[in-house]
Symmetry: C2
Subunit: 344 residues, 2 copies
């Protein structure tokens, strides 16, 4: 079994600087310890001369803290998660942390695999970016168990979407977001409003569906069964789902899509079905991913502060890292707003 080349260690630097390894560690560790200015110089010079790079693994082993944060996402190629990851990365990077992205593609086995790996790596914290699976899923129990183990081992965690296990969160109110979208459509005179729902396996999808039902009821509209079409969360899912929906319930005059990808797909489907947006059909999504304003017509949506979500999550993790006594079950709810464009 081949070994990697061997970078030099702290003792080499110590030898060159004519001090003990402990001293080198103190200088490089940056802690304001009592170090003679001249010694510090010698150490710094030796380290620079040798291009020494401290071994983060050994350091983590000794200190029991890693500079690693993890972001669990449904699909990193989805710009919604891209924005979130970007936000996390930005604040994590500024404080010397690195972020690991784990894609689980809505396959719970992959999620479990990632969780096990993260545990074994003793990551400092993990951000659950997308919502977890519904508790009824056969693997729901194992997921919960792993999350608990992770916590027991000292990993901080924060959720940006509903999870099957309790944990601190920075979140939007999914039901309210859905209701906001529906009310916007109602205000524009729509009654027959279809819902292109997300994957059944996800909690978010269920909540948004609930929000839709509730808002419809509150507006005194009885949502017919064929008005709801369950799909995935991708653009193609949106295209196909909307096509089915428009065929099954041609009477609908508006579609509330559970996320923006679905809405983008629906927009294309509407055109293909010969219904022009917004005159023949209105569409509204959730998320406000960057592409929406560049579409024609521009897609209206419930805007989610994705970037802020990511930044806050990272800040949350780092804050508690320094002061674990903050270990409360705090829940931060971020406001959403309706961004109206031409599609409604």
């Amino acid at each position: 079994m081949p070994r990697r080349a061997r970078p030099l260690s702290i003792v080499e630097v110590a030898r060159q600087a004519k001090v003990s390894p402990a001293t080198v560690s103190r200088v490089l560790g940056g802690q304001r310890k009592h170090i003679a200015a001249q010694t510090r110089q010698r150490v710094l010079a030796a380290a620079a001369r040798l291009d020494y790079s401290p071994n983060a693994l050994a350091r983590s082993l000794a200190t029991r803290r890693t500079p690693i944060l993890a972001a669990l996402v449904h699909d990193i190629s989805d710009p919604y998660f891209g924005e979130i990851a970007s936000g996390i990365e930005a604040v994590a990077g500024d404080s010397g942390h690195v972020v690991m992205v784990c894609n689980w593609l809505l396959e719970p086995e992959r999620l479990l695999r990632s969780l096990r790996l993260l545990r074994s790596l003793r990551v400092a914290g993990v951000v659950f970016c997308g919502s977890g699976i519904v508790p009824e899923h056969p693997l729901g129990g194992e997921t919960r168990r792993l999350i608990d183990l992770l916590r027991r081992d000292g990993a901080r965690m924060v959720a940006l979407a509903p999870q099957p296990a309790p944990m601190p969160s920075v979140m939007i109110d999914n039901r309210a977001a859905a209701a906001l979208a529906v009310r916007h459509l109602v205000e524009h005179g729509h009654r027959a409003i279809g819902h292109l729902a997300g994957p059944r396996i996800l909690l978010t999808a269920a909540l948004r569906h609930e929000g839709y039902l509730r808002a419809m009821a509150e507006s005194g509209i009885e949502a017919a069964a064929p008005w709801v079409e369950w799909a995935g969360f991708g653009m193609l899912d949106g295209f196909e789902g909307a096509t089915r929906l428009l065929a099954a319930a041609p009477e609908i005059t508006a579609i509330f899509a559970a996320n923006d990808q679905l809405a983008v797909g629906a927009l294309a489907a509407a055109e293909s079905a010969g219904r022009s947006v917004p005159s023949d059909l209105s569409i509204v999504g959730i998320g406000n991913v960057p592409v929406l304003p560049f579409l024609r017509p521009g897609l209206s949506t419930v805007s989610v502060p994705t970037r802020t979500l990511g930044e806050e999550a990272a800040r949350h993790l780092l804050r508690r890292r320094q002061r674990p006594e903050l270990e409360t079950q705090e829940t931060q709810t971020l406001a959403v707003g309706l961004t109206a464009r031409q599609s409604v």
Copy 2:
């Protein structure tokens, strides 16, 4: 300084299974060693009972190999990189590796910071997903130096786009891709073809610009200076750049955008400028990001096998991990093709 909770170690498992830690390591390490079936059972049972999770840090320290791959990207919220990252993740995950995503946002300082961190983490390999900065940049030298150090320390690396330092690569031919786009426009009767170029700091942008110039020359067209507009790589850059381009050179009948984001922005800009696509203006980009077919009109583009690029990169890294004698400067070139939709 607070410490994280203490997960149990291998010696606890050893005690419970009444064997030595070495034996536990042998059982869990999975290497086909001579282990009595009954001993293996005892160890496995104890590990399961205690929910033992081996410490990957300690393991990496001892073996001098980490299960970590890194992906350096311009911007993870750009779906082009999202796809690549997704491909890397898929094959890395299947072989027990985890991938770290580092966003450098075209700020070389961030790139350097990430490289230093990766070195210190002794990552097994790094994928340079986006192109590097042009060598003339003031930080170009330091970048090269860090890449060399990384290699000296045993990290494998592979580039998916041109880099200032030599390394194995899995790449498309950027000049050829650009030429393909231009020729496609020429074949459709265009002569006055504008170029919406990428960020000046990037090698890819320079190569694609070169490809544009060469293809124009080969088609016997003299590209006027105002036909080229330098921008960033985002959709908004595309919108603004195309707006400027159309104002400065209203005679152009087609735009070759250096990437799809620019093309998407250009599409919106064309509409805003009252030029309908494709009748008044043709547009073609590079990349084939997932959203293109859902736009109206669908955007034509030079399709890049992003997903495959990511997968191949990861495979490349893992292959060389097992057999370092393959340490050749191999260069793999992937074919691109033109995907015609309605925009040209």
